[in-house]
Amino acid sequence: MANKSVSKTAGTNKSFIDKMGGQQFIVLIIVIVMFIFFSAMSPGFRKYTTVVSILDYSYYIALMAIGVTFPLLTGGVDLSIGTGLICYSLIGGLLVRQHGMPVAVGMLVTILIGIVFGIINGCLVALMDLPPFLATLCTCMITRGFGAFVVGGYGIPWPAAGQEGGWFRSIFKIQMGGQNIPIGFLWIILLVIIMSFVLNHTKMGRYTRAIGSNKEATRLSGVNVKFYHIMAYVICGLFAGLAAIAYSAIFATVQPGSGAGFEMDAIGGAIVGGVSMSGAVGNVTGTLIGVFVICLLKTGLPFIGLTANWQQIITGFVLIIAVLIDIFKRKKESGQ
């Protein structure tokens, strides 16, 4: 995919900042419209608890999406985050459940394995020159198999709230006066701010974009392209590890063999939020907004009385429409 982006020489007469800001804005409006629509349609949706539910289920997707923004910006992709998430969580959970390790150690291991697979992906792509789609498709299969293999195929429940070690669930949600406070959302916002900074004001971010814009030119400029290319995947792996913890904290049991398809939600969110599949264009704030479109569809549609199956159909169409709006907008712009 990356080679499609090379040599975007003169001729594109619009600023990419405009374009990106533009799409973010459109998507933000879509989120708001959807929210108003669902609220109008369903009394259940208007409740505080619903908002908390949507947030709850959005954490792991949001974390994956923030991470995968980096490979996307290099013009690559990481398809292994979904099955990876389950794999990391299974292994971390296994240590806690079967080997009696403290939850903190389990969490650390979860993140570390995420980073290890990030390094593997990065090496496959940057050192061995495999197409990112393909390399991560393979690690997708490998993590899916590996996680299930290590735990012997059994589902792993992380400690429940109230149990020994259950404290980690309150990283994402604390109770105060009988109400749940979704503090996980604050973490997400914090991470988005940090990653925005990394992307826009550090070498790491600069080179990530540069690689997506023109890898060869970046290399010829004397940048250690391999290192930074690997790092994009490492960040993605790190965030997949964090997502694994969010997932374990929100849901009771982690089932091996699941997780395929999570990456679609995350990547779809990023793209809807304005990240370009051909690299260099996009931002983590956009990604976050895009993720909310996906999550609203996933958690919002059931509230207006649609069965799960209609949800899927509608999700499909909304995805296309979100992208089409952007395409038509751009067409109109360039037509002038």
Partner: protein, 329 residues
């Protein structure tokens, strides 16, 4: 003009024709078979195992062929698995619930596949929606549509002895692998389509540089869409062979086959960047995957190992290709 010394690359004509990569894959395939025979103490030897492995190879083969066309244009299709299930579910439901005759059901499967192909192709080619998004959308739509249509029921196609069960003869008659013959015939048709016809030439060329082909006065939209249409039709065929071998499909699934189908295709030398595709490679790749799946099971090993090993083999195969190309340059 000066007489530049132009050395042509010396290569065995056979190797050149078939491709080094594919020869290696064939050897891998044979070695794997030998290895499994040895490890299982000869139990693996014989038709029964091969037939069983072939069951898996049929539908996967058609899926892989299907996605080869899309990948050749530089696109990607993650909806093949779910669409295959959607075809099988809706067509099967027409047969079991609405009492349609079997030929009509088979036709419906193809038509649904085709419809998704047209849908994907139209969005990608005419409206410039990234193929990743289109396929993600049609994956959701296929799952949802099938669930709504069948009321989330799984659908079982008739057994050989039941009415309409004759369609299983497409897969095997007694111990004759009819499906293999059909797969090979269709693969040959695909190969001709890709290498000998205008359509194939344009598909591969636009996969490599779409703008240049457009400026040559070619209707690139039509040809790009045609790749997705062929893909859809092949997915419809895959659905028939899936139920021919495994009878039952369940709504809401199918994505588990995407990766294996794409893996088979890429293992055989089709480039994810587009412009480069090999049908024979795809078929060999699919055989490797299905043999692996059968072999792992025969050894009594974990199914998960198959995923891991497939992943590693694809990485090695593609890396070998990368190295070979690097050495050339």
């Amino acid at each position: 003009m000066g007489g530049r010394k132009v050395e042509s690359i010396k290569q065995n004509p056979l190797v050149k024709k078939v491709g080094f990569n594919r020869i290696v894959l064939c050897i891998v395939l044979l070695l794997m078979y030998g290895l499994f025979c040895a490890l299982t103490g000869g139990d693996f030897f014989g038709m029964r195992r091969i037939l069983s492995a072939l069951n898996y190879a049929y539908f996967l083969g058609f899926l892989s062929l299907a996605v080869t066309f899309v990948i050749a244009t530089g696109g990607i299709d993650f909806s093949i698995g779910p669409v295959m299930f959607c075809c099988a579910l809706m067509a099967g439901f027409c047969f079991t619930m609405y009492g349609m005759p079997m030929p009509a059901a088979l036709l419906i499967s193809l038509v649904i596949g085709l419809a998704f192909g047209i849908f994907n192709g139209y969005l990608v080619a005419y409206w410039n929606v990234p193929s990743f998004i289109t396929s993600m959308a049609s994956m959701n739509i296929a799952k949802g549509l099938a669930s709504v249509f069948t009321k989330t029921q799984s659908v079982s196609w008739p057994q050989s002895s039941q009415e309409g069960g004759w369609f299983r003869n497409l897969v095997t008659i007694e111990d004759i692998p009819v499906g293999l013959i059909i797969l090979i015939v269709i693969a040959v048709v695909c190969a001709i389509l890709l290498n000998q016809t205008k359509m194939g030439r344009y598909i591969l060329s636009l996969g490599s540089n779409k703008e240049a082909v457009r400026l040559s006065g070619v209707n690139v939209k039509k040809w790009e869409m045609s790749a997705y249409v062929v893909c859809g039709l092949l997915v419809g065929i895959a659905a028939i062979f899936f139920v021919g071998a495994y009878s039952t499909v369940q709504p809401g699934y199918g994505d588990q086959y995407n990766n294996e189908a794409i893996a088979g295709c890429v293992m055989g030398g089709t480039s994810m960047a587009g412009g480069l595709a090999s049908i024979s490679g795809t078929i060999i790749g699919v055989f490797i995957i299905s043999l692996l799946q059968e072999g792992i099971m025969a050894l009594g090993l974990d199914k998960n190992l198959q995923l891991i090993i497939t992943g590693i083999i694809v990485i090695v195969a593609v890396f070998a290709d990368v190295v070979a190309r690097r050495r050339k340059n």
